[in-house]
């Protein structure tokens, strides 16, 4: 193995180095200096993110277990951007009294989880995929029960770890069937032939992965975990962990499961309809903003499945673009929820009444984020949805497209409910005026710039499309 081959794993090396540096740094900080690890973590992660954008070669290493190419690099960079924004938003929460002593733990858990996501995306072998998946999930379950003194947080942790253990067992059972019928585990060598056992194995495999993406029959943990976890962890779950799972799903379906296309198109056809509809219908009746965003993220996952179903390079490009937009819009929404929860301790929709009077800028950010999630032009979310719809139309699923458009209308209704609460509804005791700290403001403005610029600046999509067309 040469240095060249090791350098292919640049993202992972950088993250592992970041984890080690943080560990050592934490040992050197005294009790009063613990909050310094917030700054060091953010600086380290900024460097890691910037390193990720350097040009890189594609290839495979570790005997084909680890594969990298421009598309995978782009996926990792998108996830890194999301994590950077989450780190910026987490600062003020970590400085509160209960968390003061265990600041570093939060960052360590997050970073290990990102390492898992990166390995999972780059997997060239089922074992690597499985290890990445577990490394993505297990640290985040610990982070979900981070609030030691809140029973809701422990409850969220339990629901997350039990459902993810259950789902990975299902996924592994499917994997064992796939292995039994093909005898190979390297993605490059597996040859599927539409045997019944392979179809069954694929269905098990897809259900296991569906838990992570929270596709509808497997979504029941989502709302509870999102509500109970600390909001920063929730935003990680809904953006990074879900995004990584979606990326992997696209990569696997297009490359590996290509011979089973007729099977997975039917599976995704059904689940996409249910995911969109049920996510939307349940979002309407939510009062808690975190639960509301949970169901909205389920519905968004349904929309993302629309890009997957075509199974083409174009569909893949639309999925990556949509996730990029989704990262910015969802993190902007979560950023506002985090800020308000931090300063006023309120997460219910009724508490947002009259927010525009007291906190006009925060309400504007929230409005932009929700409009982008709903897909109102000219924000980026509109183009994301538009490209997804074109991808579906290109592959000829017109009924699915019709249902998706109906769902887009329904989703507009409940996103506007929040906007109405903020701008129109009167309130006796609105959230008082407050100024969030600088990192949060930077993160929110980055999100807003992302939402607006990605929409207007068409080379972004062209670039992603070119990459996908070249690679696949």
């Amino acid at each position: 193995m040469t240095v060249q081959e090791l350098l292919l794993m640049r993202h992972e090396w950088a993250l592992i180095a970041g984890v080690l540096i943080l560990l050592v740094l934490e040992l050197n900080f005294s009790e009063e200096q613990k909050s310094k690890s917030i700054i060091s973590a953010v600086v380290i992660f900024t460097i890691i993110t910037l390193l990720g954008f350097l040009p890189a070669e594609s290839g495979s290493t570790f005997g084909g277990m680890y594969v990298t190419d421009p598309v995978r690099l782009l996926m990792k960079n998108i996830l890194n951007l999301g994590v950077l924004i989450i780190f910026l938003q987490a600062g003020s929460w970590l400085q509160t009294k209960n968390n003061y002593n265990r600041v570093t733990e939060f960052y360590l858990l997050m970073l290990s989880s990102v390492i898992g996501a990166n390995f999972m995306i780059s997997a060239g072998h089922f074992l690597m995929f499985y290890l990445g998946l577990e490394l993505l999930t297990i640290p985040i379950t610990a982070a979900a029960s981070y609030d030691q003194y809140k029973s809701k947080s422990a409850e969220a942790g339990i629901k997350l770890i039990l459902s993810s253990a259950f789902s990975s067992a299902i996924l592994l059972f499917g994997l064992s069937m796939l292995y039994g019928s093909t005898g190979e585990m390297y993605f490059s060598e597996v040859r599927f032939s539409n045997d019944l056992i392979q179809v069954l194995g694929f269905v098990f495999f897809f259900s296991g992965l569906g838990f992570k993406i929270s596709i509808v029959p497997f979504h029941l943990w989502t709302a509870d975990v999102y509500e109970g976890s600390p909001t920063n962890v929730t935003s990680y779950l809904s953006v990074v962990s879900k995004g990584a799972a979606i990326f992997v799903l696209v990569l696997l379906l297009i490359n590996l499961f290509e011979p089973l296309r007729l099977v997975w198109q039917q599976v995704i056809y059904g689940t996409a309809i249910f995911t969109m509809t049920i996510g939307n219908l349940f979002a309407i009746r939510q009062q808690n903003l975190k639960r509301f965003l949970a169901f909205s993220s389920i519905a968004q996952a349904g929309f993302i499945l629309l890009g997957v179903i075509g199974g083409s390079a174009l569909g893949m490009a639309t999925v990556i673009y949509f996730v990029l937009v989704y990262v910015f819009s969802n993190l902007a929404a979560f950023g506002v929820v985090i800020a308000i929860e931090q300063y006023a301790g309120k997460v219910n929709m009724a508490d947002y009444n009259g927010l525009y009077k007291t906190n006009p800028r925060l309400s504007l950010v929230m409005m932009l984020a929700l409009f982008s999630l709903a897909g109102i032009p000219p924000l980026a979310g509109f183009f994301g949805k538009f490209f997804l719809f074109t991808a579906v139309a290109a592959s000829g699923f017109y009924i699915l497209l019709f249902i998706a458009v109906l769902n887009a209308v329904i989703s507009l209704y409940y996103y506007l409910l929040v906007v109405k609460a903020m701008f129109i509804s009167k309130s006796e005791s609105p959230v008082p005026y407050f100024q969030s700290d600088y990192p949060t403001r930077i993160a929110l403005s980055a999100c807003v710039i992302g939402i607006i610029v990605i929409g207007f600046y068409s080379p972004v999509f062209e670039y992603i499309k070119q990459l996908c067309l070249i690679s696949f």
């Binding site: 029973s151 422990a154 039990l162 067992a169 059972f173 994997l175 292995y179 005898g183």
Partner: protein
């Protein structure tokens, strides 16, 4: 020389084990037993991998390695899960799954 058990029989055993695990996960009230049920499911998968290696692909070791990794990861998962259970027990003085119902719908 004892006649080898046919693969079909082995697979029936592992499938039964898997679904016993599923059944246990869905019906048990105690969180620890739910975790044990998941472990049963994972062990069924391990057996599956080992059987496939032995019967269909003798000489290949990928299935064996995979089951070793599954065992290791199941241990890690159980460690985190039990830590969370202890945390919950400190909060609500119970590890009955029916008490874990602060959040619904």
């Amino acid at each position: 020389m004892v006649e080898q058990v046919p693969l079909n029989h082995a697979l029936i055993v592992t499938t039964l084990m898997f679904f016993i695990g599923v059944y246990g996960f869905l019906t048990r009230k105690n969180l620890i037993t739910m975790l044990i049920s998941v472990e049963i499911m994972l062990n069924a998968v391990n057996l599956n991998f080992v059987f496939f290696d032995n019967y269909l692909f003798p000489g290949k070791l990928e299935g064996h390695f995979f089951s070793l990794f599954i065992i290791a990861i199941a241990a890690a998962e159980a460690a985190v899960a039990i830590a969370i259970f202890i945390n919950l027990y400190r909060n609500i003085r119970s590890i009955d799954v029916e008490q874990v119902d602060k959040m619904k719908y």
